[in-house]
Structure formats: structure tokens, C-alpha cells
């Protein structure tokens, strides 16, 4: 019998697999959880946007120039009729922000996923094959990253006009490059692993090695990068819309709402403040969640949640 009292013996904690460890880590990260809550709220707002607009009773493009605008064209502040006030042509700002959330989330998720998919494909091919293919693909990525975003966007809009597909295409074109570069570097480091040699000796094809052996090993970093890419896409979409290079009016977008109302900011602060807050909340939330994910996925990270 041992001299140690039974009450002081701690049973060994059950072994956690990686997924459980990451989830557990995330759940203990208060900032990440708060960010996740904001993101869920934004996603719910986007999903239920038509319902919210119906409850508000004001369409996002409906103009209330009689009750939502002074005779001198000044928007009305937040009040019982319009909870977040009206915009420069007498539209319900809340209704437009809700619909704008839908557009933003749609653009952010679609563009980020597409950019990540392209980036993974190009980066894996370049990193795994190496040699001439790597040189050519990496060179192409360098060219893409060297192009000036706004000038290219203006040129595209000049030729084809502002439209949803042009805006999405522009965002994807300018965001897949960094993903490809990150993935390529990860693959170069990973493909020397013994498990890759083992798979090759067992007769696995290059495609199988890339998809079944390497991809799962770099997935964590790619997920982190993807979560950080979303706020970049959101800001990019808002910037393009602000400059009139995004979704054509009257469709509401956060950047477009800020652009439409910028001349009246001194007399109608709400027309700038609320869309800016939505933008801030979304970008901050995705960034904080991305940080949390990185901490949770990276066992060597020093910034661990206690």
C-alpha cells in the first residue's frame, strides 16, 4: 500500500485526439468564442435577411423620401420608423445593412473558398513536382502578386463594366496567389517526410500522395490562412464597392453604403458609423477567430489560452 493518500492521486487525463484538442483549446479561448458568436450572428443575419427585411417592412431599395428624408435631402437619424436611420435617398439603413451582410458573407465565403482551392491546387503542384513546373508556377504567382489591384480593377470595369462576376473574379484573382505560395512552401517541407516515402514504396500515385498524405498534414495551416483570408476579402469587396467598382447599385453592400453616404457624414453620422461598425465587427471577428485557430492548431504556439 502506498503512503500517499488516495485523495491526492490524480487520475491520468484521457488521451485527446487532435480534433478534440483543437476544439477544447478553442472553447477555452474567450476571444475566439466571442468572435465565433459574432460570425454566427452575421451568418444568421445573412441567411434570414429576407425575413428580417419583411419584419422591418421596408425593402432595402425602397425610398421613403416623404418620411425618411428632410425637404433639403438630409437623412433622418435612428428613430422608431427607421431603427438605424435612413440613407441619402431615404432608404432604411438597417434593411440595407442586413441585405449587405448577405452579399458580404456570400462574397467572402465564395471568394475565399475559390481562392484557397486554386491556391492549394497550384501550390501543391509546384511544391510537389518542383523543377521547371515549380519555377513556372512560382513565377506566375509572383506576376499576379505584382499586379496593382486597383488599377487592374479599374481597367476591368472600364472594359466590361461593374458587375457581380467581375468583382468576384477580381477578388479571387488577387487572393489565390498568396495561398499558393504558402501551400507550395508547406508542401516542399512536408514531402520529404518518411510517411511520403512509405506511401511511395507502397505504390501510391503522385495524386494520391498529394491528396491523401500531404494535404491532411498541411490542412491545419491552410484552414488558419483561410480564416484570415476572409476578412481580407471582406475589406477588398468593401473597397471595390466604395470605389464604384463592385456590385452595381441599387444592390446594397457595406462599402457601397459608405460610398453613397460619404458626402453627408457631417450631418448624418449614422449613415457612415453603422456600416463601418458592421465592417469592423466582421473583419475583427474573422481575424480573432483565425488567431484562435492558429493557436489551437499549433502546439508550439506560446500564446496558449490558459
Amino acid at each position: 500500500m502506498s503512503d500517499i493518500p488516495a485523495s491526492t492521486v490524480h487520475p491520468a487525463p484521457p488521451a485527446l485526439n487532435t480534433r478534440q484538442r483543437v476544439i477544447s483549446q478553442l472553447l477555452r479561448d474567450k476571444a475566439a468564442m466571442a468572435a465565433l458568436t459574432v460570425i454566427i450572428l452575421l451568418v444568421l443575419t445573412a441567411i434570414f435577411a429576407p425575413l428580417i427585411v419583411m419584419v422591418l417592412g421596408h425593402g432595402p431599395n425602397e425610398q421613403f423620401r416623404d418620411i425618411g428624408l428632410t425637404p433639403g435631402g438630409v437623412p433622418l437619424p435612428p428613430g422608431p420608423n427607421f431603427l438605424l436611420g435612413t440613407d441619402v435617398v431615404g432608404r432604411d439603413l438597417l434593411a440595407r445593412l442586413v441585405v449587405g451582410t448577405q452579399i458580404t458573407i456570400l462574397v467572402a465565403v465564395t471568394c475565399a473558398l475559390t481562392a484557397i482551392a486554386i491556391g492549394i491546387a497550384v501550390g501543391m503542384l509546384a511544391g510537389f513536382r518542383g523543377g521547371l513546373i515549380d519555377t513556372m508556377l512560382s513565377g506566375f504567382v509572383d506576376v499576379v502578386l505584382g499586379l496593382p489591384l486597383l488599377i487592374t480593377a479599374v481597367a476591368l470595369v472600364s472594359v466590361y463594366g461593374a458587375s457581380f462576376p467581375i468583382m468576384m473574379g477580381t477578388i479571387i484573382f488577387f487572393t489565390w496567389g498568396p495561398v499558393a505560395r504558402v501551400v507550395r512552401n508547406l508542401v516542399v517541407a512536408t514531402k520529404e517526410g518518411e510517411f511520403v516515402d512509405a506511401a511511395r514504396m507502397l505504390g501510391a500515385s503522385d495524386l494520391r500522395i498529394m491528396v491523401r498524405e500531404i494535404l491532411p498534414n498541411i490542412a491545419g495551416q491552410v484552414i488558419v490562412y483561410g480564416s484570415l483570408l476572409i476578412p481580407q476579402v471582406i475589406v477588398l469587396e468593401a473597397s471595390l464597392s466604395f470605389l464604384g467598382l463592385g456590385v452595381p447599385p441599387p444592390t446594397a453592400t457595406w462599402g457601397g453604403i459608405i460610398a453613397e453616404n460619404q458626402t453627408n457624414y457631417a450631418v448624418a453620422w449614422w449613415t457612415i458609423l453603422f456600416p463601418a461598425l458592421f465592417l469592423l465587427a466582421a473583419t475583427l471577428a474573422f481575424n480573432v477567430l483565425g488567431d484562435g485557430l492558429r493557436d489551437a492548431l499549433d502546439p508550439s504556439s506560446e500564446r496558449r489560452t490558459k
Partner: protein, 584 residues
């Protein structure tokens, strides 16, 4: 006691009355005084400083630097302001030989600002005209003189072949004659026209008609060197000119006040600092007394809303901008919707469908904007108010529009591609139009794009226009000067005879009746005939409904508390820098 209170009250009332009287007398007795510095800030440097290409803010500067034979006076009454008065010339000449000949005698004692003061001569005046069509700075300005001054078209054709260097330009200008420009003696200029031109005196009052000193031929037109070495004729000269930063004018030592009936030159210095593109910041600087006024901007909407709370504020300067802005241009050449816009009923339907009251409201309200129904504006000769497409309170008549569309074969409405320059108020106007036209079954496909793109890729691109890349456009019609300026509002966009080469008649609008009325107005020998022809042309054009005039507005400026003599000159839409004075 009561009596004492009453007497005290009476005493105080009396004292107040005396004080008020003294204050009023003091205000009335406020005489202009010389001295001080008139300070302004501008968004950017002067785009076209050279008189050959000067516009708006640059013309404002030239009021202080450069004199013309005749000039538009600075007067609060638009009718007076629209009548050119003598400047360098001793008198506004009466046209001779059936309106074909104008003789000007230049005032004795009117000098160039050269180191050795020199009389301004008739040869200098001729040189000014000749430089207009130089190959370095091609502008639309020569169109005011080509076909009007005898031999000017041939002179310009030859000039276009000259190499764009100083020596070649100097040689061509000094050695080539224009048949219609003759120096009869040192100070007498004879101008012979190809045809009578009713508004020729107004054209001569533009800064582009200014005499030019021979020294100006030492520099390329509008070059930085020319700006730094500018030889003017006005009461001020350039002291410093740092491109994109600062322009300082000081009083000219050679200016002869006795030979200048228009300028007083009260202030010692005029300083313009460039690089403040924010009108809100400029407004705050004016209100704080740091500067005295706007150079190339006007009050921002947000500030105007606040300032307009006291519409009697003496520092607020408001005046009609003389423009119809915006108008909708209907592309009758578009094949879209089975060439719907070629049908006058569809164009009329759009004229009925628009809610101009809404455009007024989102444009700042009735204090600063007004609905219009025609091309010519109030201060232009030929303006006769009418409305061919009236709707209740200018709020549009969707039912009438729908009926016209149904009559034209579009009972279910139509879709129109609406191309417009994004940014600023055009976005708001477009949003209001989109909502209101929808009520009449006219769905707009919004095609916003940067201003230059819309102009070059859409409106001015014949292939895009005829191919239906756009159905409806948005632009403005602006008079280049006040008074006899209907030419500048009607000819560029509606003269069908020149439509193939015009950069403003995008849809090649061509109506023989309108063309004939334009010819009548341009060649009239008296103002009444010209005015009647312009009024008839205005109405004839609107009968075809190729455009939808929407609103006209006021320009709002603000002057510092210490600035006096702030009457606005309607040529350059700002205070007259040679008449303002500082009260401190």
C-alpha cells in the same frame, strides 16, 4: 417711482436707438480701403493657366493678371453682368458693314507688366487670337473663332502642321497673317467676320480673346516656364509660382489705374495655396478667419446644410450656376428594345415618368436646386420658360408615361441600360431615378463607371452608342458665359450639321428646323432676333425629347468675416479679386 422707471426705459431705448443709428452709419460709411492680403486655398494647381486654355478658377486668376478688349462686369444684377463693357478697348464697338466689321481702339496708357513698361497694341491683340490654335495645347476654344473671324480657319489649319516647339510657333504666329485681323494703327484693331455673329462681343470678353505680349512666344503654351514668366496686363503680377503648392500675386508697378475702368486692386497681395481638396476643411479655415475664400471648390453639402440655417448670413454667397445639371440623354440610335428610343413616344414617356422633385430633394432641396423643363437657363438670352411635359409639382406622371409606352408597343414596359459617371451626386440622382422610373414600367440596368470611362467608352464612342451599349446617359449642359451664350448650350449637342464630328452630339441628333434656327440665331445682327431664334430652337429640340432636363442649381461660396466687396462675377463664378477689400 413708476415715472422714474419709464424715464429710465425711455432713456435706455433712446440710447439703444442712438447706438443702432451709429452702427448703421458706420456700416454705411464703410469705404473700401487698400491693403492686406486676400488668401485662398484650392484643391489643386490651375489646370489651364494659359489664356488659350483657361477655365473657371484660372479665369478668376486672370481677372487680376490679364485684361481683355471688353469684359463681363462684376455686378449683382445678372442682366448687367451679362453685357460686356470696355476694358482695354475705349468702347464696345458698334458693328459696321452689316455686322461684319468690329473696330477697337485700345486705351492709351494700358501697359504690359514688362520691366520697361510698354503700351498694349493692336498687334498684341492679334497675337492673342493667333496663339489660340497652337499645336501644343489643342483645346475646343478655337471653335468660338473658326468660321467667324475671316481667314481664321485657314490659319488654324496651317498651324496644325507646325512642329510643337517654341521657334516654329513663334515664326508661324509672327509671319502668318489672318485675313480678318488687321492693325490699322498702333492702337486700332479691325476684326472682319465671315458672317454676322450676334454673340461676338461676348466671345471677345472671354479670357481666350486677351491680347498676348510678344515675350509669351518665348515659352511653350501653358508650360511651367510660361507660368513663371507670365507677362500680364492686369493690376497684379506673379511673385512666386511653386507648381502644386503656392501662387502669390503682388501689385503690378506698371498697371495704370486711370486706363482700367473695371479693376480697383484694393488688396496688396493675393495668395493661393494649392493642395486642399477637402471643401469641408476649406470651410472651417474660412470660418476661423485663416483664409478668405474658396478658389476652385464650393461649400460641401454637409456644411451648406448647416450654413443654410441662416440664409441671410452675409458671408454666404449664392448664385445660379447657369447649368442644367443633370440632364438625361436618350440614345435614339440604340437598337435595344427594337429601337424603342427612336420612337418619340418612348422618349416623351421618359420625360413624363421622371420625378424631378425627387432629384431636387436629394440634390439638397429647393433652397439650392430647382426643377427645369428646357435647355436654356434664366440668365441666358433666349430663355423663355415653358414646359412641354408637365407633371403635378414636377413629381412625374407614371400613368401618362405607361400610356405612351403602351401606345408605342411596350405595354409591359422596357429595360434601359443607364450609363453614368459614378461618384458624387450622380449616384444619388441615379438611385432616385431608378426607383421612380420603375413606377412607370421603365427598368434601369445601372451601369456606373468612372467619369472618363463613361465619356470615352460609352457616350463619345460611336460604335458603343450605335450598338446599344447604353440607352440613357447623364450629363450637364452649361453656358460658357452669361447672357448671350445660348450658342454654348445648344450648338455642341444639338447642331445636326456638325454631328459627325461633334464630341457632344453623341446620338447625332439632327433636326433641319433646329439647324435652321441655330443658323438664324448665330448670324442675327440684333439681340432680339437671336433671342427669338434661340427660344424657338430650345422648344423645337424639346418637342423631339432627345433629352430630359432635370434640375438647375446654385453655387454656394463662403467669404471670411473680414472680406468686403464680395459681389460674384458670373463669368468665373467667384468674387472679383480686383474688387474685394479687407475690413480690419
Amino acid at each position: 417711482m413708476k415715472s422714474s422707471i419709464l424715464s429710465t426705459g425711455r432713456l435706455m431705448a433712446g440710447a439703444g436707438l442712438v447706438a443702432l443709428t451709429l452702427m448703421a452709419q458706420s456700416a454705411l460709411a464703410e469705404e473700401p480701403k487698400a491693403g492686406g492680403t486676400f488668401k485662398l486655398v484650392g484643391a489643386g494647381d490651375v489646370a489651364g493657366f494659359d489664356p488659350v486654355s483657361a477655365r473657371s478658377a484660372s479665369v478668376f486668376l486672370h481677372r487680376a493678371l490679364t485684361r481683355t478688349l471688353v469684359a463681363f462686369p462684376t455686378d449683382a444684377d445678372p442682366k448687367v453682368a451679362a453685357q460686356p463693357v470696355p476694358d482695354l478697348a475705349e468702347a464696345v464697338p458698334t458693328p459696321e458693314e452689316g455686322g461684319l466689321v468690329y473696330r477697337f481702339k485700345i486705351r492709351e496708357g494700358a501697359m504690359w507688366n514688362t520691366d520697361a513698361p510698354r503700351q498694349i497694341t493692336a498687334e498684341d491683340a492679334i497675337r492673342g487670337f493667333k496663339r489660340l490654335c497652337n499645336p501644343v495645347q489643342p483645346t475646343g476654344t478655337p471653335t468660338y473663332y473658326i468660321g467667324i473671324i475671316k481667314g481664321f480657319a485657314e490659319f488654324c489649319d496651317g498651324f496644325a502642321q507646325v512642329p510643337a516647339d517654341v521657334e516654329s510657333i513663334r515664326t508661324y504666329v509672327e509671319d502668318t497673317q489672318v485675313a480678318g485681323l488687321t492693325a490699322e494703327d498702333e492702337r486700332t484693331l479691325k476684326i472682319t467676320l465671315e458672317r454676322p455673329t450676334a454673340d461676338f462681343t461676348s466671345i471677345l470678353a472671354l479670357i481666350s480673346s486677351a491680347p498676348i505680349a510678344v515675350e509669351m512666344l518665348d515659352y511653350l503654351p501653358n508650360s511651367p516656364d510660361l507660368r513663371r514668366n507670365y507677362v500680364g496686363s492686369g493690376p497684379y503680377v506673379i511673385e512666386d509660382y511653386i507648381l502644386n503648392e503656392q501662387l502669390n500675386l503682388v501689385r503690378s508697378p506698371t498697371w495704370n489705374a486711370a486706363a482700367d475702368p473695371l479693376r480697383k486692386a484694393y488688396v496688396d497681395r493675393i495668395e493661393v495655396a494649392f493642395g486642399t481638396p477637402d471643401a469641408g476643411k476649406t470651410q472651417r479655415m474660412i470660418e476661423a478667419g485663416d483664409i478668405d475664400g474658396y478658389f476652385d471648390l464650393s461649400i460641401a453639402t454637409a456644411d451648406l446644410t448647416r450654413v443654410m440655417e441662416n440664409p441671410d448670413d452675409p458671408q454666404l454667397l449664392q448664385f445660379a450656376d447657369g447649368a442644367v445639371n443633370p440632364i438625361l440623354v436618350l440614345n435614339s440610335a440604340s437598337p435595344n428594345n427594337n429601337a424603342a428610343l427612336a420612337d418619340i413616344r418612348v422618349r416623351q414617356a421618359i420625360n413624363y415618368a421622371v420625378n424631378k422633385a425627387a432629384i431636387v430633394q436629394v440634390g439638397g432641396g429647393p433652397n439650392v436646386k430647382k426643377a427645369v423643363d428646357q435647355i436654356l437657363t434664366e440668365n441666358v438670352i433666349g430663355y423663355e420658360p415653358y414646359n412641354l411635359y408637365p407633371t403635378p409639382d414636377h413629381q412625374g406622371d407614371p400613368e401618362k408615361a405607361k400610356a405612351l409606352l403602351a401606345e408605342a408597343g411596350f405595354p409591359n414596359g422596357i429595360e434601359l441600360k443607364f450609363s453614368y459617371a459614378s461618384g458624387g451626386r450622380y449616384d444619388l440622382y441615379s438611385a432616385a431615378l431608378e426607383a421612380d422610373l420603375a413606377k412607370a414600367g421603365i427598368k434601369l440596368i445601372m451601369q456606373p463607371a468612372p467619369s472618363r470611362t463613361v465619356m470615352s467608352q460609352m457616350y463619345q464612342n460611336r460604335q458603343a452608342t450605335n450598338g446599344g451599349a447604353w440607352d440613357m446617359g447623364m450629363t450637364s449642359i452649361r453656358a460658357d458665359w452669361v447672357g448671350d451664350s445660348a450658342r454654348t448650350m445648344i450648338v455642341p449637342m444639338f447642331d445636326g450639321e456638325a454631328c459627325e464630328t461633334s464630341t457632344s452630339n453623341w446620338t447625332c441628333y439632327n433636326n433641319e428646323d433646329v439647324n435652321a434656327l441655330i443658323d438664324t440665331a448665330l448670324t442675327a445682327t440684333d439681340e432680339a432676333t437671336a433671342a427669338a431664334a434661340w427660344a424657338a430652337a430650345d422648344k423645337a429640340i424639346m418637342s423631339d425629347a432627345p433629352i430630359v432636363p432635370l434640375i438647375t442649381g446654385k453655387i454656394s461660396l463662403y467669404a471670411s468675416e473680414r472680406l468686403r466687396g464680395t459681389t460674384v462675377n458670373l463669368l468665373f463664378n467667384n468674387v472679383d479679386p480686383t474688387l474685394v477689400w479687407i475690413a480690419e
